[in-house]
């Protein structure tokens, strides 16, 4: 099966505290550690597990610039067959719709049967997969947490719904699925694996190569614009306990008792 996984390089929230910059218009980007979007990493692992069962190839693609090559190489070190970078100065500042349009143009040049994205990235929008499917007129399912290949034409998938329940669906190929975390256990990627793919060429395609109309990408086409970042309105706020750990622990025990938690 020919599988395409759309990935993105994002600030790693497990490695950084995300803070506001001094101007208050962006997050503080100095010294941020970037990594592959967590959801996308699960999607790549799922693609690799599918091809190990039924054969095929996994291509990882991202819309970005030279700096984004590192995550393509990381996913190639995991086992992806190809990495592709879609890069053009016209693409910078695109909104989700613009990104989906760029990916659509690339997909139409290939022959992919299954297209995976992560459910969401750092902005929590959860949009590119669903937009892409609509642009391609492919069936779509979000929040996918298991995939079974029935035959060359159909998949059986589950979606995560409320309360830990799952919704079982059949979906025809080609299709687009957005992958939820926890669907698998992504394999570890060591430095040695990354070194092995360090010199593999990564093809890069720009707007003319893809036939992307410049008017549908970039900041001018964006009908969604983030104007600033700010710190969330503080809630009532917790009463913070300070002091020696033993003293704090004594207070906590007393509080638990008062609130009816120590019978």
């Amino acid at each position: 099966m020919e599988i395409l996984v759309c990935v993105r390089r994002v600030p790693d929230t497990s490695e950084n505290e995300i803070e506001l910059n001094s101007a208050g218009n962006d997050i503080e980007r100095d010294e941020l550690v970037y990594s592959i979007n967590e959801w996308d990493n699960y999607a790549v692992e799922e693609a690799l597990q599918i091809v190990s069962r039924v054969g095929g190839k996994v291509t990882v693609v991202t819309v970005g610039d030279d700096e984004d090559e590192e995550i393509l190489r990381r996913q190639m070190a995991m086992g992806a067959t190809h990495g592709v970078l879609l890069s053009d100065h016209l693409f910078a500042g695109s909104d989700g719709r613009g990104i989906a349009a760029i990916l659509k143009a690339f997909i139409q040049k290939g022959n992919y049967e299954l297209i995976l994205t992560g459910v969401q990235a750092e902005d929590g929008a959860a949009q590119v997969g669903g937009m892409l499917a609509a642009m391609l007129d492919y069936p779509f399912a979000s929040l996918v947490n298991s995939i079974e290949i029935l035959d060359g034409k159909t998949l059986r998938i589950t979606r995560e719904i409320e309360g830990g329940n799952k919704e079982l669906n059949e979906i025809d190929l080609p299709c687009v699925l957005s992958i939820q975390t926890g669907i698998n256990e992504p394999r570890y990627v060591g430095m040695r694996g990354i070194r092995q793919v360090a010199s593999v060429p990564i093809p890069t395609f720009g707007a003319p190569d893809l036939g992307v109309n410049p008017e549908i990408v970039g900041p001018l086409a964006a009908k969604i614009r983030r104007v600033d970042y700010f710190l969330p309105a503080a809630g009532r706020g917790a009463e913070m306990l300070y002091g020696k750990p033993e003293e704090i622990a004594d207070k906590v025990v007393e509080l638990v008792r008062t609130k009816g938690g120590l019978s």
Partner: protein
């Protein structure tokens, strides 16, 4: 001004709480525009849903079709495309249906999509200013959306005020015949109900709940020792289940269980809204986190900035001492 539609989610004939929240979101977009409820379903369930909606919406568009007995977003989207007037602003709850439905709906109606909106601040010309969150709720953002040709806006469940139904008597408009035959490349088969697991965390008076901050599987035992000392049970947030350190049945949150303990000890849990949405009944929340800016401290009653691996064993010891004393 464009018409505003609220897509109403329902289950077993009962209207989801989000319907009343979409109504207040619509009022924030335009207080003078009466939003229209739009809902798809089938049979007597759909009838009772529309009856309920009559009390809060002035107009209800009803789409009845056997295909909607279960809400498959792929089919619902096709129906909405057929009935929505051009230029409409469509509000949808940002839940598993909205995530499935809305991005594609925005493409098919050629309107912008704004996801997971927490608040609506107002209009500046043809642009609507809304509030979103990024990085798991660590930071908020103002986002402008050009609504001059309509929009699809996903509204975060629980973020907008729940507007109580009035005694209104809304008009039901049956749009079913406009839909025609409908099919999709994705077919719903059935729902797989979650396994109950070894303990029912929804019935525990005290929960020691662990998140990503527990760092590794071996450290789960530290939380279990505290829970044992308290006579409590260990629950967790999503990353712990994703890492397979605990069973899914122990997860608190929208995709896990809803719990209502008296005391909730959140250990290394950042406090994403999907997690907090699983906490009901206003428990007393004690949050322990090494990051003093963790969002959990905004909702907790008591906060402690500490390393779990150092603090939890001390708390366990003190709990055991306290129980010994009270037993004497």
């Amino acid at each position: 001004m464009a018409s505003i539609f609220a897509y109403v989610v329902h289950k077993d004939g009962a209207v989801d709480d989000s319907a009343a929240e979409l109504l207040s979101a619509a009022r924030k977009i335009d207080p003078d525009e009466e939003p229209v409820a739009i809902t798809a379903g089938f049979g007597s369930d759909l009838d009772s849903v529309c009856e309920t909606l009559q009390r809060s919406y002035r107009e209800i568009w009803k789409i009845s079709n056997e295909a909607f007995a279960y809400p498959n977003a792929e089919l619902v989207r096709k129906a909405l495309i057929k009935v929505l007037p051009p230029g409409s602003i469509v509000l949808v709850p940002h839940n598993h249906l909205g995530i499935d439905l809305s991005p594609g709906l925005s493409v098919k109606t050629n309107t912008p999509f704004v996801s997971d909106v927490l608040d609506i601040e107002g209009r500046e010309g043809s642009w609507l200013k809304v509030v979103r969150q990024e990085f798991g709720g660590q930071i908020s953002a103002h986002v402008m959306c050009d609504v001059s040709c309509g929009a699809v806006i996903n509204i975060r469940p629980g973020a907008f005020k729940y507007l109580e139904a009035s005694s209104g008597n809304g008009t039901i408009v049956d749009k079913s015949v406009e839909i025609g035959p409908i099919s999709s490349g994705r077919r719903y088969l059935h729902t797989i109900v979650a396994e109950s697991g070894d303990v029912d965390i929804s019935k525990q008076p005290v929960l020691v709940s662990i998140g990503r901050g527990i760092q590794e599987q071996d450290n789960v035992a530290i939380a279990e020792q505290l829970a044992d000392a308290l006579g409590a049970v260990v629950s967790c947030s999503r990353p712990v289940v994703d890492a397979k350190w605990m069973d899914k049945s122990r997860q608190v949150g929208t995709s896990g269980k809803t719990v209502k303990p008296r005391v909730y000890i959140a250990c290394g849990i950042s406090g994403a809204f999907q997690h907090l949405a699983g906490l009901k009944g206003s428990p007393f929340i004690i949050a322990i986190n090494k990051n003093p800016k963790a969002p959990i401290f905004q909702v907790a009653d008591v906060g402690i900035v500490a390393d779990l691996l150092e603090f939890l064993p001390i708390l366990t010891e003190k709990t055991r001492e306290a129980r010994c004393v009270s037993a004497k």
